[in-house]
Symmetry: D3
Subunit: 229 residues, 6 copies
């Protein structure tokens, strides 16, 4: 019994910052998790090759599958091309749940990826927006308890050495503080917070993924070899 | 494995109108469900005794427990007394999920019960606001699929004969239309819609209620005799 | 005595879905109504030629004038070119009232047409946003009673056979349910709902259109031959 | 052909400040207008008797009917008693349109009258909130052009001599400036601005009031003697 | 050169939790600061006498003046009596800045004190709402850097021993985490966050308080003896 | 002791309309002020050369430095190029405070400049959005008292003769009325109103600008020659 989860971020490290603990919780619950990084992070500090390797290490540390969107850092538009990249990932993973940036953000790529995901996931029943350090307006109402997973989130984030070293926006101290802040709001110890675009609460246990899933390209080379399904 | 659900309404029929289908879905998933009706509906059409009997029939048709708050119709305040009534019900049921009116409503009792519940449920992890026909502002983001339960909702509502007959606000045609309207928003056939005050999504299956529950006064006379636990 | 009404949609069928009943009510009140379809709907199900013919049949069934914007489906931007197309239609029709998509929508073309119309209609006194099946956030406060016109709305929608047959977003059952849902909110039977950008309520009866109107290109070939003015 | 208009304010001068120009426009369009002042303004500057006389002079200057609610200044609650006073006025006037304070206001009576009116007018199709000098949050979307009626608004306000002389909140200079400010927003010269709770736009000319109206107590002694109907 | 600052809270410890660091920053800038505690905290954990002593110790540790409102815990109403208590404190302190609870809060007293302060401070140019652990909706846009004052905030909070020991809502770990969370939002290390009701930014240095201030009752016994002015 | 202020507008006259009085107040307080006009206003009424000269006269009348962004009127995008222009101005001026358009506006360039500034100023502690005549949604909470500076604002605006003569959006009568309207909200006579993206209130007097500032290119040719620093 498992869900298929898709987390989408504009740059390497965005997903870990926004919902890394929640992804760890999904894996602990036996769900399949795929991360889609839309650009290569060409403009951030650190060379592209290094960032790519960091993202792969981080995804491995969270035991998640990693997909790349191959768009250009700082030039993402919420247009048909970006939407197609995300639709493709939704189709490949048959996603039950989609996580993505919040729409109000000071980074133009984050805004574009959020808007493009709202378009691409128009038929999905669960689309949740996470918070980035650059998010501006954010009034969360949905939370996931990550008390048992904060360590894994911080470990995954630490894999992005080039960012932790050089970006004012990536600060583990703040990540832990925000998790405690939202935890208090959620009446747990540590939490990640979300703004739902649309969240159909499934009262029955998570669905059994169809057998055909294990044969889909996105999972064949990955989960099967790791013995997940 | 079951959750303890508490649904709160100001008058007889409010709960059925707002989340009757969701309560049926909870029962179908094996959860324990309690309805707390805060007043006797003394001012609506129909004598109090009749309304009381209607509510009991409706609760029975949904296979839910029914509690009465004994406050006065049209005179509910969001004060310490009302909060105490609701705190008491939360404590008795050890509620995992609380459903209640939306805060913006043209009925003063609905506003008061919503505000008092936000106070009483301040330590709860899941508080969801449902919509009434008199609700004014309402931007839902959480939904429950009631496609398999709309019939039971309408049947429970039909038990409130005095209201269906005389109140312009209680119209089964509108109830079904709104369920289809929100269903389309939720990407299912029929849905009930909710605004979350706070919703901690539990990724693991619903918790096993502690054995002690079956011994609590609120459940002893009720569920046990019906063989629920 | 008549108003000049302009309804704007990104694709064939958008206007009928959003405000088809209101347009019928305007025609019944003797107002002149023009529909501006910004793109040819090249990407939806059904060939372009067929969709064009469907839109023309639908406009005829509502007895409205139809203008085409000739932009490209799924590639509309809220830029100077799109704004110019809409400004042109506003000028040609000397519009008293403008209807258009709501700004928050999962379809990028809908968002772009809404934003471009807000720009183009900056001097207009009445700009009302309608709801599409893909609209996300929508808190209406203005309504039009379409109890006497729902049939015409559904008939106009049925003209878009290619969409009714193949698009999950075009479902007459949902259209009728939403009309009842909003009708209950408006305290009538069936209603269409709107979010006003700016609505100057004219307390005097609708103005007599200037005689010159009948000589303007947009109306000459159309209304005159149908004996509208 | 006329509408029945009901404007509600907590204290003498509130209605003139909030929608005096609009009431003049309604009278100019041939509509019947009733003002309901909920309290006697016992706590403001000026003796009660003087304020009562000022309100009567102002209502006469606007050629509107004046009703008094007889509640206590600074002690209004949004409870059943206040709601009953307003329901009574709605019933007596068979109101087509209801004007009242905006809900977010620094005066507790204004908040209470706004909330009580939302309750009392739950079956009405047109409820519009006006702005007071003490209103806090206010995002208007509906406007009435009062360019031809600003003088009458200022004249009606000037009747409240005790307030113009002593209250920092009643300043004709600000009233005129705000009318110009909102006029620019509405694309007219002077306007009053409103937040609609619910506004059903009637596309046909305003309804003919039923003949029975002239026989209702509220109008008999008043309009008839002035030759309005 | 100094400002007169008034911070208002419903219960002992509310002010320290919400804006204790900011009050320390005001004192460090040479401003006069008064705390008004509206009730005695009769219902919280700990006896009233003890709570009173804790509040006095905390105020002394922040070097602020302490006033008591003498209303009843859990029974505060936003009525004329509560407004009068706050008006009195504003008048006595000739407050330039007023800090108070945010309006959306799960504690009924917090809601009432926030609403009453908005009424009482209707002529004030600077009214800022702070966040409590029980605040629900809160979208801050104004911040004060308390990096140099977090220690004093935590020390003042620690004076409320009965609360730190027994209330789930008073947790120094969360207080520090939230300060870091809001600090990151404000682009400083630690911050307190505020929602402004009205904030007139004074571009010139803070005004010299009039000499007469030192003679006002509220300051005579207090600041003078401590040599503040 | 002075602040470095940067005001950003899409076209010549936007800054004067939005915050001209505030800039005068900053200059009166001894602050350095730079205006960045992002486009040449090629599409408005009046030839580009004339508009350029008008802007220079206006900046001189306010005693502010003027920078040009050299982007194209009506074609501004919130993309990396626009962000780079603004980042460059922030860097050159070492801005303490940034003023820019409000995000919701009927002019596409205003929307784009607002969004690009939110991106470019992501590390700034004070970003305030001003209102334009074309702004749509605007709920201000921060104000600057311009009672002593309204004349200078109107004089600066009058320098833009081509706009005052021909644009319906540039009307000194409305500018003065809005200043009075917002002044009443701010409890002063005339005010400009702002929506803060982020405003860290500095309780200590404004910082002494570093000596190096006078050597930066942006100030060398300008302020020094005018003897400002």
């Amino acid at each position: 019994m498992m869900r298929s989860v898709l987390a989408i971020g504009a740059h390497p490290d965005d997903i870990e910052l926004g919902c890394g603990g929640t992804l760890a919780a999904h894996r602990a619950a036996g769900d399949a998790v795929t991360m889609l990084v839309v650009t290569g992070g060409q403009n951030g500090p650190g060379p592209v090759g290094e960032r790519r390797a960091e993202a792969e290490t981080a995804a491995r540390s969270l035991d998640c599958l990693l997909l790349w969107g191959r768009l250009q850092d700082c030039a993402v538009q919420a247009d048909a091309a970006t939407i197609a990249v995300i639709e493709d990932a939704i189709r490949q993973t048959e996603a039950d749940v989609v996580y993505v940036h919040a729409p109000d953000d000071s980074h133009q790529d984050h805004r574009a990826v959020a808007a493009a995901t709202v378009s691409a996931a128009r038929h999905n029943r669960r689309v949740l927006h996470y918070r980035s350090p650059s998010t501006t307006r954010f009034e969360p109402s949905v939370y996931v308890d990550i008390s048992a997973h904060l360590d894994r989130k911080l470990a995954a984030l630490a894999c992005h050495r080039s960012q932790v070293a050089s970006s004012a926006m990536v600060d583990p101290e703040v990540v832990a503080a925000s998790a405690r802040h939202f935890g208090a709001q959620a009446r747990v110890r540590f939490a990640e917070a979300f703004v739902p675009s649309r969240f159909v609460w499934d009262l029955s246990p998570p669905p059994q993924l169809p057998p055909a899933l294990a044969d889909m390209p996105v999972y064949q080379a990955a989960y099967r070899s790791r013995g997940v399904t």
